[in-house]
Each structure stands twice: as structure tokens, then as C-alpha cells.
């Protein structure tokens, strides 16, 4: 799906827990998810913190979309 969309020329950021799969299918901008049953957030830390984690990740996703990449890039940290 990532490639199908990106071939129209819009950047796609793939937020996915199993990064090796994302790399294999060919996503160019990748953000590692927290866990398979909860990629964006961590409900085991309570709703408030979980939402904070989610916001940070989505912010990182927007930043990744604003970053030029010349190949597959995994954005592991908020600062890049």
C-alpha cells in the first residue's frame, strides 16, 4: 500500500512496529511503532502518557514527511 500511494508522488510515512517488514516491502520513511497491538501509544502506561507518546510520534511523522530522503530511512529518534 505504501508504494502504491507513494508512486503518485506524495510522501508516505510508514508507522509500523515490525520495521524489517516495512523495509522489505519498500517503505521509504519509517517510524517504528511501540507494539503490534498498539503501534501509536502505550496503554500499559495509562491514557495520559500513552497519548503523549502518540503525539510525539505523530509529530515525528510530520517531521519525517518534511525531510528529504534518498533511500529507505528509519526515523528512530525525535531529533534528526
Amino acid at each position: 500500500m505504501v508504494k502504491g500511494i507513494e508512486k503518485y508522488g506524495v510522501p508516505v510515512v510508514h508507522m509500523a512496529t515490525v520495521v524489517p517488514i516495512s523495509l522489505t516491502i519498500g517503505a521509504n520513511r519509517i517510524i517504528p511503532g511501540v507494539g503490534i497491538p498498539y503501534p501509536l501509544g502505550d496503554p500499559t502506561q495509562g491514557e495520559v502518557d500513552s497519548k503523549k507518546i502518540r503525539k510525539r510520534m505523530v509529530r515525528r511523522a510530520l517531521k519525517a514527511l518534511q525531510t528529504e530522503v534518498d533511500g529507505q530511512t528509519v526515523f528512530e529518534k525525535d531529533n534528526f
Partner: protein, 350 residues
């Protein structure tokens, strides 16, 4: 004569421990054959013994790749097997990746021959086909009986140190390894035969298959985020409660488009997930874990980006054919670019 020893790796499901709710099961050793291991032992005959079965939950492995690999390596080492076997994983993606990862590690670190098995569309196949022998299977465990003789044959050859033949003969996924041999006919004759077949429209087999470059170059970055239109797409199976379009919980044949207009967050009374490949309890309670509408609306209000497309596109990513996924991507891409003129897409996968 001493028996050949094998150690077998399987996931929590094939060990009979449980489904998704047990997917975070930590690595464990049992000195008995379990699940597909029992059929393997029967088929291998009395020259072989299954020294141990190692069980690990697919999520645990996927989320703790390095740690899980190290733990399992230590477990395998203790038994000094002649051959290490993993799976078959059939079309289970996380399981296939786990089988490939652990096989590669056992071969590299312990120098023990390894074999696993999976369906051609399992992501583990493309990731590890060059590293390990992956016997071909169908897309479900129903094909176990067909796979078994090929696995057994390879295990026996590995144990005895005999030569494993090519992917055609032994029924494993092509590894991209070239082996020199003397052909019956010289190159010019083969070329003419191929050309004649091609002209007649008959199938022919090339001597040198071209690699498949299935890549899309990265699209240019968003220049002006303050005015950018962003869309959310997911393979996490989030749908309106009641699943109005009957999207399949596995092997999806369609995707859905659902409105999020005038909503500040994804609420569990309106949305749920029908994904058949992970423990759904967290997302059913809070669908924002997959479609992060709550934080996107806040960021939209705060001017962190221009605007959010007022719908999201969704399907189920488990067991779904890569061909179907490519088709969904194409259709979604068309809608998002031609109708919505989006500047960027967030795609969330579980």
C-alpha cells in the same frame, strides 16, 4: 549408531499455547515434539530424534528481535543439534520473519545447518531467501502434508552432509545462488531454442532471470507543512462499529473509506477493529492507537500542519496478498492525490 538430533522452533499457536492473546509468550524449551514437530519426527524415522522444541510468541519475537534471538541461540546451543528446523510458517508474516531470523542466526553463530518453510508471499521469504533454505508451502497449514516430504528430505541430506540440489529439485524458494554445471547443449543452441519458443508464444525458461526491482523512489518532502493536507491510511483493520462494508478480518479483498468529519477523536462507540492478526483489546478500547485522530486534531488546531483529510482509508493487513495490497495502494493513492490533493500520508500498520 547414534541418532541425528534436531531442534525445532515453533510459535505459540502451533505449540497449542494460544492465539493472539498469547503472542507475547517468551521463549521456552520443551524436550518433546509438539504440533508439526510430531509429524516431522514420524516422517524422519528412527535415525532421528527431536531433542527439543523451542516455543516463542510471534509478538515477543517481533518486538524483541535481538534479545529473543540471543535467548533462543543459547537454548539451541545446549542441545548441539545436527539440524535446526523452524516452522513451517505458511502465510503467517510475523512467524515467517521469526523463523528466518532465528535460522539465519543459528547458521551464522552456531554453524548448524538450518531449514524452514513458508508461503511465497510471506514477508519472511523475501527477507531471508538468500540466507537460508526456505521450503515452499501453500498459504495455510492445510498444505503441511505436501511440504513435509521436502523438509524431511532436506533435513536428512543436511544431517548426512549430502549435497542439497537446486530450488527446482528440492522445492525451496530460489536463493539467487548461481551454481556452475555443464549443460547438455551449448549456449547458442539454447538461445535459438528459447527464441523459437518465444516466437511461438510458448513458455520458456531463461538462463539468466532479471532481478525484480520492486521499489518506488522516495517522493519529495513537504515544503510547507503549515498549509499541507495530510491523510491517514491504515492496515490495522479499524472500521466503524458493525463493519458496514464487511472488510475481511484476514486476507482482505477490499478497503473502506470512512468519515472523521467533525470528530475530535476516535471513540470506541463509533469505531472498532476487525483485524484477525493481533490482540485487539487495546485498539477496541482506544482506536486512536491506530488512527491517531485525537492528536492530529489538536495539532491541526494548533497550526502544526494545514488540514486533515476528513476521512481515513482502512483495510486488514494480515494474510492479505501483496497483489491486493498493491491494488489498494494504487486506488487509495489515486483518490488522495487526484480528488483530495494531499501533500503527505501517514500509514499506520499493526
Amino acid at each position: 549408531m547414534a541418532k541425528y538430533k534436531i531442534v525445532h522452533y515453533i510459535n505459540q499457536f502451533f505449540a497449542g499455547i494460544g492465539g493472539e492473546e498469547k503472542a507475547d509468550y517468551k521463549p521456552e524449551v520443551r524436550e518433546e515434539a509438539l504440533g508439526p514437530g510430531t509429524a516431522l519426527v514420524d516422517a524422519l524415522g528412527e535415525d532421528f530424534e527431536l531433542a527439543a522444541t523451542i516455543i516463542c510468541g510471534d509478538n515477543y519475537f517481533g518486538e524483541n528481535l535481538d534479545e529473543a534471538t540471543d535467548t533462543i541461540i543459547e537454548m539451541v546451543k545446549k542441545y548441539e543439534p545436527d539440524v535446526f528446523v523452524a516452522g513451517p510458517a505458511f502465510n503467517a508474516g510475523r512467524y515467517g520473519v521469526a523463523c528466518g531470523t532465528i535460522c539465519k542466526a543459528v547458521e551464522e553463530r552456531l554453524g548448524i545447518p538450518v531449514v524452514t518453510a513458508a508461503y511465497e508471499e510471506n514477508p519472511g521469504v523475501d527477507m531471508f531467501r538468500k540466507d537460508v533454505i526456505i521450503v515452499k508451502t501453500g498459504d495455510s497449514a492445510a498444505t503441511m502434508r505436501k511440504v513435509l516430504p521436502y523438509m524431511v528430505n532436506i533435513i536428512k541430506k543436511m544431517a548426512a552432509g549430502e549435497e542439497i540440489l537446486g530450488p527446482e529439485e528440492e522445492n525451496y524458494h530460489e536463493r539467487g545462488i548461481r551454481v556452475n554445471y555443464f549443460a547438455k547443449e551449448r549456449g547458442s543452441e539454447r538461445a535459438i531454442q528459447m527464441l523459437v519458443k518465444k516466437m511461438k508464444g510458448e513458455p520458456f525458461e531463461t538462463d539468466l532471470p532479471m532481478p525484480k526491482f520492486d521499489r518506488v523512489p522516495p517522493a519529495p518532502a513537504i515544503k510547507d507543512i503549515k498549509h499541507a493536507k495530510i491523510a491517514v491510511v491504515t492496515s490495522g483493520g479499524v472500521v466503524p462499529v458493525g463493519n458496514p462494508d464487511h472488510i475481511e478480518s484476514s486476507n482482505a479483498t477490499k478497503f473502506g473509506i470512512y468519515s472523521i468529519e467533525d470528530m475530535d477523536e476516535m471513540t470506541p462507540d463509533k469505531f472498532t477493529t476487525i483485524h484477525g492478526g493481533y490482540d485487539r483489546q487495546f485498539v477496541m478500547e482506544n482506536p486512536n492507537l491506530v488512527v491517531p485522530l485525537d492528536v492530529l486534531r489538536e495539532m491541526e488546531k494548533d497550526g502544526e500542519f494545514g488540514e486533515l483529510v476528513n476521512f481515513f482509508c482502512t483495510t486488514t493487513g494480515t494474510g492479505t496478498a501483496t497483489g491486493s495490497a498493491a491494488k489498494f495502494g494504487d486506488e487509495i493513492g489515486k483518490i488522495l492525490t487526484e480528488k483530495e490533493h494531499v501533500d503527505g500520508v501517514i500509514l499506520v500498520s499493526t
